[in-house]
Every structure is written in structure tokens, then in C-alpha cells.
């Protein structure tokens, strides 16, 4: 009996999660920019780019230090 209750509770939980997912996928954007920002936020650069860049940049001398400092002044 107790086990059945647990099962019902799990089913209920799954059902709620499903509803939640459905609700989460329906969205409204008031501007085109807002829509694009949302899309951009969930579109990261693939990890492969960083890996390639790491190898490619190894063949070149490091940039002058003074410019690196500027990086942190902005």
C-alpha cells in the first residue's frame, strides 16, 4: 500500500514535471532583440573551438604584455 502511494506520488511528480516542461517551452518575446538574446544565451561556442584555438595560438609568440594589462582596465 505504502509502495503504491509512493508510485502514485512519483507518477504525479512526473506529470507535474511534464506540465512544467510544456509551460517552459511556450514563451513570448516582446521584441526581436529579446528573441535573439534568448537564442544567443542558449547558444555557446562549441568546446572544440577553444581546443583548436589553444593549439593554433601555441605556434605564435605571445602578445605584448602592455596590451594584456589593458584588458583588465576595461
Amino acid at each position: 500500500m505504502k509502495q503504491q502511494k509512493k508510485f502514485d506520488s512519483e507518477q504525479q511528480h512526473e506529470h507535474t514535471a511534464e506540465q512544467q516542461t510544456t509551460r517552459n517551452t511556450a514563451r513570448e518575446f516582446s521584441t526581436v532583440e529579446e528573441l535573439l538574446r534568448y537564442d544567443a544565451a542558449r547558444t555557446p561556442a562549441p568546446a572544440a573551438v577553444a581546443e583548436r584555438l589553444q593549439k593554433s595560438s601555441a605556434g605564435f609568440p605571445k602578445p605584448a604584455r602592455s596590451w594584456w594589462k589593458k584588458l583588465f582596465q576595461r
Binding site: 518575446f29 526581436v32 535573439l36 537564442d39 555557446p44 561556442a45 589553444q54 595560438s57 605571445k62
Partner: protein, 186 residues
């Protein structure tokens, strides 16, 4: 997925140099924006990946030419725009629009004020890409740049070689055209 490179494991010296470099921080901060611009502008994930790599490598090699007159983001965008435009030209202007196409944008009747509804966010990327692909390249670029909250109208104008007022005027038409096409992709 876009974790800071400095936090990654670095099995050899080259990787250690990279991970501890400020360039890795620059990449971590701006790679998403540059990749997104390349992806939606070029409409090809593999080409966007290559373009992002090439843009950052170019930036790495030319860091000493950065004069600090613009932000790093703007500087990287400039490199990315030039790179993407060059690529596009070599692909026979796949997205070049004719006068007939222009008339379509001028006559776009979407209500800019009405919201854009999305029922399935998993297909959102495809719908956005379809709508952007149909737009003239200039409109596409303006929308992508202005969507970046770090850029002002003036900066978008500087990047696209026009005044901020011209950007505002074109954006109004670009938004209308995008909204009209996006709604048809439902």
C-alpha cells in the same frame, strides 16, 4: 559548456600556458557573442565554428594593434564582420538580395508591437535562422548586433559604417521584416 578555460584540466605545458593566459579570459567573455554572430550570419554551424576560431586567432596575433579606442567586444566584432563578409563573398553572395526582394521588405506588414510567440523553444533556433536567412544581409547584421546589449546604436553604426540615425531607420524596417517572416515559420 562555456566554462572558463582557466578552470579546465591542462595536461601539457601548452595547455597550461593557454589556461593561465588573459587571452583565455578574453575568449571566455566574448566567444559566445562572436560565435552567435557567425552562426546566424553565415547560417552554417561548421563555418561558424571555423570563423570563430579564425577571428580569435587573428585577434591573438594582432593584440598589439588594439589601441583601446573601442571596447574589446567591438574590436572583435569588427574582425568577425570583415571575416564573415569575406567568406560570404566567396560563396557567391548566397544571400544577396535583389530589388524585387527589397520590395518584399518594404511591404512587410507585421505589427512590430505584437509579441513573437514561441510554443516550442527546441525549434526556435531553426525558425530564427530561417527568418534571418530570408532577410538582406545588412538587416540581418544590424539585428544581430543591436541584440547585443553591450553595443550602443553609435557602436553598431561605427561597425556598419553608417550613422546611428541610419541604423535606427533600417532597424525599424528590419524588425518589421523579421517579425513578418518569423510568424510565417510557425
Amino acid at each position: 559548456m562555456n566554462e572558463p578555460l582557466a578552470e579546465r584540466e591542462c595536461p601539457d605545458q601548452t595547455q597550461t600556458d593557454w589556461a593561465s593566459s588573459e587571452f583565455a579570459d578574453l575568449y571566455a567573455e566574448h566567444s559566445r557573442a562572436i560565435f552567435y554572430l557567425a552562426l546566424r550570419f553565415l547560417s552554417d554551424p561548421q563555418k561558424a565554428e571555423d570563423a570563430t576560431h579564425d577571428v580569435f586567432l587573428k585577434a591573438f596575433r594582432k593584440m598589439d594593434q588594439f589601441r583601446g579606442e573601442a571596447s574589446w567586444r567591438t574590436w572583435l566584432y569588427r574582425i568577425a564582420i570583415n571575416h564573415c563578409r569575406n567568406l560570404q563573398q566567396s560563396w557567391n553572395e548566397r544571400h544577396m538580395f535583389s530589388n524585387a526582394d527589397e520590395a518584399v521588405w518594404e511591404n512587410a506588414v507585421a505589427q512590430v508591437d505584437s509579441p513573437l510567440r514561441v510554443l516550442e523553444t527546441k525549434e526556435l533556433g531553426e525558425r530564427i535562422q530561417k527568418a534571418l536567412d530570408t532577410l538582406p544581409a545588412e538587416y540581418r547584421l544590424l539585428l544581430l548586433l543591436i541584440a547585443d546589449e553591450q553595443l550602443s546604436y553609435e557602436e553598431v553604426g561605427a561597425l556598419t559604417e553608417q550613422s546611428a540615425d541610419a541604423v535606427r531607420g533600417k532597424l525599424h524596417r528590419a524588425r518589421k521584416a523579421f517579425a513578418a517572416i518569423f510568424k510565417k515559420t510557425e
